[in-house]
């Protein structure tokens, strides 16, 4: 039998940019998948020693502990202001924010829009699960019409609670945005696509083009009151309809071609 080095036998390993700390996320939640994708990319770009992660308030408040990079927790909604302060002071660092829908699209709307519009050279991963997870399943800015939450017990009604907000569609109107894409990770074939999207959002910062953001449609089985499989199906059938997947802004691919980056 041929001798194979131990290294060559490794077909899957934990990214170096993840810490050894066990995730605290519920079964079927997508945070874990997205964390891994980010960590893999930080590894692939050899950015671990230059990265500062800004975690939000919400279920992913502990994100800074799950990644093996320098990190902080911003006040609720303020991640992109914190990230702006970091990047402006230390342009040599790689600055990321990781935010949920309540954080990014309700309490932090002003910070989000202005950081994006200024074209801050930072990268944002935006988890949209249509609900406030950490606080127990209240209505989010992205809660779907008709969807019942603990603060919209009659289902979200446009005349009372207003409409779900579409962040990627807003990003499209902001000239400072270099990359904006909406993805999902609910089926295995979605995962590499999501990773490619986040990679482009990394390049938006690394190639000094502008602000990069990827919205990931995600499940919250616990607060949706579903099992993980049901939640995945619900996402496919309902969230994708309300929040169309796809690339909303891409000024990155062209620059990559010009610079010969693959």
């Amino acid at each position: 039998m041929e001798k194979v080095s131990q290294e060559a036998m490794v077909i899957a390993k934990m990214p170096e940019s993840l810490s050894k700390k066990e995730f605290t996320y519920c079964p079927g939640c997508h945070h874990g998948i997205v964390h891994r994708l980010i960590a893999e990319l930080i590894d692939e770009f050899s950015l671990r020693e230059k990265t500062v992660l800004v975690a939000p308030v919400g279920c992913s408040v502990f994100a800074y502990e799950f990644f093996n990079v320098d990190g902080t927790v911003a006040p609720h909604g303020r991640a992109l202001a914190v990230a702006t302060g970091m990047k402006r002071s230390r342009p040599d660092l790689f600055i990321m924010t990781y935010q949920g829908d309540g954080d990014l699209a309700a309490i932090g709307t002003a910070e989000t829009i202005h950081a994006a519009n200024r074209g801050e050279r930072v990268t944002t991963v935006f988890i949209n699960n249509a609900v406030y997870g950490m606080t127990g399943g209240q209505m989010a800015p992205t809660t779907l019409l008709g969807m019942k939450t603990t603060t919209s017990p009659y289902g979200r009604r446009p005349e009372k609670e207003g409409y779900p907000i579409h962040v990627m569609e807003i990003m499209k109107e902001l000239p400072g945005v270099a990359y904006a894409e909406r993805v999902k990770v609910s089926r295995p074939q979605d995962v590499p696509k999501a990773k490619m999207a986040i990679k482009k959002a990394f390049y938006a910062q690394l190639l000094d083009i502008g602000f990069g953001i990827v919205e990931v449609l995600s499940t919250c089985p616990t607060n949706w009151g579903m099992d993980p499989v049901e939640a995945g199906r619900w996402l496919e059938e309902n969230m994708v309809k309300e929040f169309p997947l796809g690339v909303y802004v891409d000024k990155v691919t062209e620059v990559m071609k010009e610079k010969g980056v693959k």
């Binding site: 500062v52 800004v54 990190g71 702006t84 230390r90 002003a110």
Partner: protein, 352 residues
């Protein structure tokens, strides 16, 4: 030190920050301090620093949080309503132990109030307007020269203790012109490295800067660390000025620009044969209780004068502890008291 130059208050503070090695400024326009923001927009470009006009004071303080956490000497300036908006972020910075200098050019309030000089934000600035058990070192200058020195000192105190620090100014301080002598600038590159800053985990373990711990026992430990720090600040960072207190019979207490006005009152009183003196706290936290208490032993009247309804008065009473009468004279809403009307108030207290 160079020659004396004539400058406006807001510019004096801005230039002092530059000389202190501050190379990052975030701000949002608000009267009566917008000239400081404007000054920084010009100067930061000249010295290769960072200036950014934020979308709000809420964003401003969080940009400071970010800049400070990666190791920058960072500053903002604002006025009362803007400082209110910064409270959330200041509370976070306090517990994350992030240094930063805030200049609050206080104006009349509450609410939209007006744009005239006031000291009505003493409680907010000195006692903490944000949530949680924290304190902020606060300095109240009464001349532009002192404002320059205290601004530079504020950066050193902020870095030394890893805490936000406030310069308590008012509209008068911001708008007046005076000759000022600036110290030689500090090279930002010569400042000591911050071994806690988020600079990328190169050759070391990843580190965090947060105001957060979900475990109450761990958070209590963080809280106790803060309290230890405040104790140390209280012991080591008190500043005050005494004016004609050696032979005094009555003592005034006033801070900032009012302290300056009361100096005239002291002289006027002495012309009338009343031996008045002034105690001017310069650090409002830590408040110089001990020294004021000693001075209170020598007099029957300790009269507090403020451009407020009587806020520092509470600290004066805590120092005096009933050893002397503690009358108060204040003007509100941005009305500046004159030396004469303060003297009149004293005469009334003396029954003359």
């Amino acid at each position: 030190m160079g020659e004396k130059i004539m400058v406006k208050g807001t510019e004096a503070i801005g230039e002092a920050a530059i000389r202190a090695g501050c190379r990052v400024y975030f701000g949002y326009p608000i009267t009566p301090q917008s000239e400081l923001t404007e000054y920084m927009s010009r100067r930061m470009e000249e010295v290769g620093g960072v200036f950014l006009q934020a979308e709000s004071e809420v964003a401003t303080v969080n940009m400071m949080y970010g800049a400070s956490s990666v190791g920058a000497r960072v500053m903002t300036s604002t006025s009362s309503p803007g400082f209110s908006l910064m409270q959330e972020g200041i509370s976070y910075m306090a517990n994350a132990q992030l240094p930063g200098v805030f200049v609050d050019v206080v104006r009349g309030g509450p609410g939209l109030g007006d744009i005239q000089p006031s000291q009505g934000d003493y409680f907010q600035i000195v006692k903490g307007g944000g949530h949680g058990d924290y304190r902020l070192p606060v300095y109240s200058p009464s001349s532009l020269q002192e404002a320059v020195e205290l601004t530079i000192h504020a950066f050193d105190v902020a870095d030394k203790y890893r805490t936000p620090v406030v310069i308590f100014a008012d509209g008068m301080m911001g708008q007046m012109m005076e000759p000022v002598e600036f110290p030689d600038p500090i090279d930002p590159g010569s400042l000591p490295e911050k071994d806690w800053a988020l600079t990328g985990a190169k050759g070391r373990n990843a580190r965090y800067v947060t105001s957060f711990d979900i475990d109450p026992y761990k958070l209590e430990k963080m809280n106790k660390n803060l309290q230890e720090k405040y104790k140390k600040i209280t012991e080591e960072e008190q500043k005050w000025e005494e004016f004609m207190t050696d032979d005094m019979e009555v003592l005034f207490v006033a801070h900032g620009t009012v302290g300056r006005i009361v100096k005239s009152t002291v002289k006027m009183a002495r012309d009338k044969g009343i031996k008045a003196g002034l105690f001017r706290p310069i650090s409002l936290f830590p408040f110089p209780y001990q020294r004021l208490s000693e001075l209170a032993d020598k007099v029957d009247i300790v009269m507090t004068v403020e451009m407020s309804a009587g806020q520092m008065l509470e600290d004066v009473k805590l120092a005096v502890l009933g050893k002397a009468r503690t009358p108060f004279y204040g003007r509100l809403a941005g009305v500046i008291p004159t030396p004469g009307e303060i003297l009149e108030a004293l005469m009334k207290e003396l029954g003359r």
